[in-house]
Amino acid sequence: MSVPAPTRSGASAAPSLPRLLVGLAGGGRSAGLDAHLERYGAHGASHVRADLIGLLEESGLTGRGGAAFPVAVKMAAVASRSGRRVVVVNGAEGEPASGKDRALLRRLPHLVIDGAVLAASAVGAREVIVATGSGGQVEQAALAHAIGEREGRRLDGPVRTFAVAVPNSFVAGEETALVRFLNGGPAKPTFTPPRPFERGVGGAPTLVQNAETLANVALIARFGAGWFRSLGTEDEPGSVLVSLTGAVGRAGVYEVELGTTFEALLRQAEGATGPLQALLVGGFFGSWLEARTALSLRLLDADLAPYGAALGARAVVALPEGACGVVETARVAGYLARESAGQCGPCVHGLAAVARALGRLARRERDDRRGDLLRWLDLVRGRGACRHPDGAARFVASALDVFADEFSLHARGRCSGAGRLVLPVPKRQEAAA
């Protein structure tokens, strides 16, 4: 996923917007250490490190990987433990509609590592592990180069940084799956507790934070909590990266202030390419919203909650008229069923049943199992070791609601779509179905 050049170039002092992506003004290459230091200054004055957790609490920064958990709370939980501790940068980004962490790691590896090293100092860790998807050779090369530059200049004191490639599966980025893989196991979730902050890599208390989250940590350490809060709302402060795809002029990763409307977000991407019927908000674990409703909403969980939706990891897909919501939903449901880790019965059997029923509806086989579908969705929620079944259920439930008319058409053997496929469902998995 490309990153369109920011429209405003960054000042040498605290940048307004773009904040995270300001370092991209120089073009498509990875920012080297000199350019990075020139733009942002050295990371973490010692007085900031001393109370980074307090600073982050004041800032209100929440995890940018999708769950929006308060960063300071998670860090304090690891800091309160004794002995060896570890920081893991989660850049696995298994969500097919998301490209923001890859973009950050490719282009601004030093900003992400800065945040991770600062977090390591704050929680008492000396090891930072940066995890990226195994298909991401560009990110891995950028990381290897950045780590080498930092080691060459002994920039990070006692903290050492390692890069690890993790399998490209949808669930590999779930934090217990990530830790299990780093411990030599399969990249599949574990039963909790213990959570990684209690027992993680090598048994040590482990802070797992998303790459975008740590890039924000690096900026907050430099510019302060007040600066961070100067964008966004009281409850949802700051800026976020949005991966925007589908029927827009220029798909890509955009940085916007929390509270921006979806309409303004689309304008940054040169607008919709035609009339839209729906937006998918929150990626494959997200919710469909009717376009006319969604466009006037702001990118805030407070605005989305009444519709049962949430920003999640902020992957947004614009679905045009002419595409079929039933077909798109069946494609994703099939993918999510195949991407189940295969460990928990209700997820394995439930998602398979849901995917089969949706597949028959998508193929207009006049087999209307919507009653069964609703029952199955209820049966899978909360019954896995991780939230995979819950995310899949949320996605399908929103489709049954938003595309109710199209589902009825399909149940009668018809379809109003023109055969255009929009959602970025990975091809290899789709072909294997």
Partner: protein
């Protein structure tokens, strides 16, 4: 005795179904044979049966937890 509740480790569960036979008051099976557990705290009267169900699970997938277990980060 502190109030406790039942929980299933869904990774360990292999749908043997003994728990639902031993504690039908709190556990039913879904259409694939996996237990659906009522998460409400157990009453005193059910404690003995609950312990028996926990001990009988062939894969040790049924657990008794403190009802007021803290929320993890």
């Amino acid at each position: 005795m502190k109030s406790e509740r039942l929980r299933v480790n869904p990774i360990a569960c292999e749908a043997h179904g003994l728990c639902a036979e031993l504690l039908p008051e709190r556990i039913t099976l879904d259409e694939w044979g996996y237990p659906i557990v009522d998460p409400a705290p157990l009453s005193r009267e059910l404690h003995r049966e609950a312990r028996r169900a926990v001990a009988s699970c062939p894969t040790l997938a049924l657990l008794l937890e403190q009802a007021a277990s803290r929320r993890a980060a």
